[in-house]
Symmetry: C2
Amino acid sequence: MNTFKVAIFGGGTVGGGVARILRENSALLERRAGCPVELVTILDLFPSASSKRHGIPLELYCGNGGDLNRDEASKYMAQILSNPEIDAVVETIGGSSDYILQVVLDILHSKKHLITANKALLAKHGTAIMRAAVENQRAIGFEASVCGAIPVIKGINDCMSGDKIESVSGIMNGTSNYILTKMSREGLSFYEALKGAQAMGYAEADPTLDINGGDAGHKLAILLRILYGIETQPGDIPVSGIDTINAEDTRIAEETDAVIKLICYAQREQNGVCATVQPMMVKKSNVLSDINNATNAIKLVGAYSRENLFVGQGAGSLETGSAIVSDIVYIARYGTASLRDYPSSGLSLVSFDSHVMPYTIIFDTEDVPGITGIVTTAIGKQEINIDTVSHNMRVSGQAGALFSIVTKPCTLTQIKAAVRDMQQTAPSIFVKEPKIIPVLA
Amino acid sequence: MNTFKVAIFGGGTVGGGVARILRENSALLERRAGCPVELVTILDLFPSASSKRHGIPLELYCGNGGDLNRDEASKYMAQILSNPEIDAVVETIGGSSDYILQVVLDILHSKKHLITANKALLAKHGTAIMRAAVENQRAIGFEASVCGAIPVIKGINDCMSGDKIESVSGIMNGTSNYILTKMSREGLSFYEALKGAQAMGYAEADPTLDINGGDAGHKLAILLRILYGIETQPGDIPVSGIDTINAEDTRIAEETDAVIKLICYAQREQNGVCATVQPMMVKKSNVLSDINNATNAIKLVGAYSRENLFVGQGAGSLETGSAIVSDIVYIARYGTASLRDYPSSGLSLVSFDSHVMPYTIIFDTEDVPGITGIVTTAIGKQEINIDTVSHNMRVSGQAGALFSIVTKPCTLTQIKAAVRDMQQTAPSIFVKEPKIIPVLA
């Protein structure tokens, strides 16, 4: 029984968590992998900080614990990659630069299995990385790249492998969900909630990719590849974030029996797959409306198994670390047999604009007679049926009207045409561009 | 690329679903298995009924579609088992008789991989079956045996393999959950709700194993083996069902911000694992309180990944069938490498009586002065703190008092001692034996 030997590149939040689990949990891991799993070495520029934070002995770091400069780090990296005893490398450096792409490709070209949580890199360079894996006949584990501890990759590859997955809807960014939860429960503005999230450590100092939907978009791109063999380029999936949502929108959500959530969404259609990441009005009857704070959730609907929901922690040192360790165990057990290359299934992305679902349109207008008639007439002209029209939600004494219309299922193309029409009919009464938010039933 | 060849024993609800998926979904299955997967034959005593129900061509059945007597079936079974081309047999005959045990052992001894949904058999004879698998170096897939389509077996074996699982709590019997949901939402009595479940097809004509907790107990026994290597004998796990729950209990649950659910429960403790199946008062803040009708759910708490929730369909032809097909794909891909024997981890079952959790005690007494003093004094004497005491919930005009006390966390041993004490102090005032129900926070 050969020992499966692992090196870690990057001893930060996630890499340090992986190291700690590999050391603490080795008896159980051996039982599950069918062989001993050994952490051989960690490459990090600042071992003392990593060692202290994660309780890892300094001797386990390259250079015996002293800080490394870039040249020294490159030298140790080359040593690890040329060491035939090392079976797998965990990449937890992060980022999607050309440098990190090269590191990842070098790992595979050196005939090491690769385990990574790097969603940005996989979303951007997934095809090149998969190709390198196939060329070198080494496996890639990336369970931790989508929703941290939630086993969505193995969930799709192994657990639901008997099924045809028809749709995905998920809350896949904890920072956004934390902010939206605070806004919804405490009536906070977006910026107040964001500051709170930063103070709690849920949001980075630069939270751009979390709040603009970019991070969630990376995860959905990875899922589209493994679900349908669809290769996406940045920009292919329409993505918008939560920075456009304000306290009034969350009040309107409540009024219409919904909660605003940033939803990663994909649906198998007749001629392809439509996909988007955007804030949606999630009806309270949908279990995703109950997923709060930094928790993630993903719902997969299969043709045979119907609704499957997975809920768990999408981030965190040990949480994400445990997903990486599950990949290590899996590859230790199955080796190259676990290599998958997700070939095209012949399906491609189709425009979200022609996908049919209900919409909420939020209007901020002058409070003039006839406004309801103007907007409902324009909606009717597009053959859209209306579900509900709210009363004016502007607090009494404030100027203008704030109200919403929830439609029956229709396309975004129809909604946009209706909005254009009403703006042309009465250009002066719209204080803001009407806000269009899909409704997830 | 060799074709992976499968035979099915039993073309009923689940076996027929498996056959349909294998035929309909073959392109996707090949992609996921890494080789073609072929359904070679189905052995069923009444092919025409199975064929009609599941849309399977009669030629696929042993005997070309004619009804078979037992002798003919035995002959075909022997032919299949001696056919070296067949890689795996799906056992969906069901039951835990000596006959079916022998069928399953024969499958393994004939060097076929075994896939089964048979929870009763695995709970009762798991050790013998695992031993036969190891002896013959063939894998066993039993994903469908616990919670149907919910991937709890792969969830534990592969998805959470990096983790130490500290506790399990789940709703693992759809019939019970359907009945309890109806009782809670519509105020029905147990027998009214049971009749409704039978009319809807959620409960068998003989629902004994569903309502007495036996079926859920089988599933928990399987989980204890794969989680902790604990081998149980029938009776080792304290099991009680929902047939003791009445409409008044569901009202008291509502009053104490809880919902009654039949819970499969296991908790890793200092010196072992405690386990039970019984109705519990699930607090509404616990997501399991929201799992309704026939839906199943299981929550696994890991030392590293923290809370993980899986929700899905616990029964049904295609739902359970899809879980079996996922096992076929898994074994087609990994073969004997996927064999696991779940050796003892050195942990054993410890008594649930000394496990600490809050309890609700429901009292049905004469309405006499001093009764609250008698029961609260007895509870205090056992060093149990009280959380809440309800008012008398007996409808005005009815005789007697119906009230509940919710305790702070304590042991069942303490609770039982308190109840004995109060019964000795005032033997004549208890109309019924006080009912003791654990509270799941």
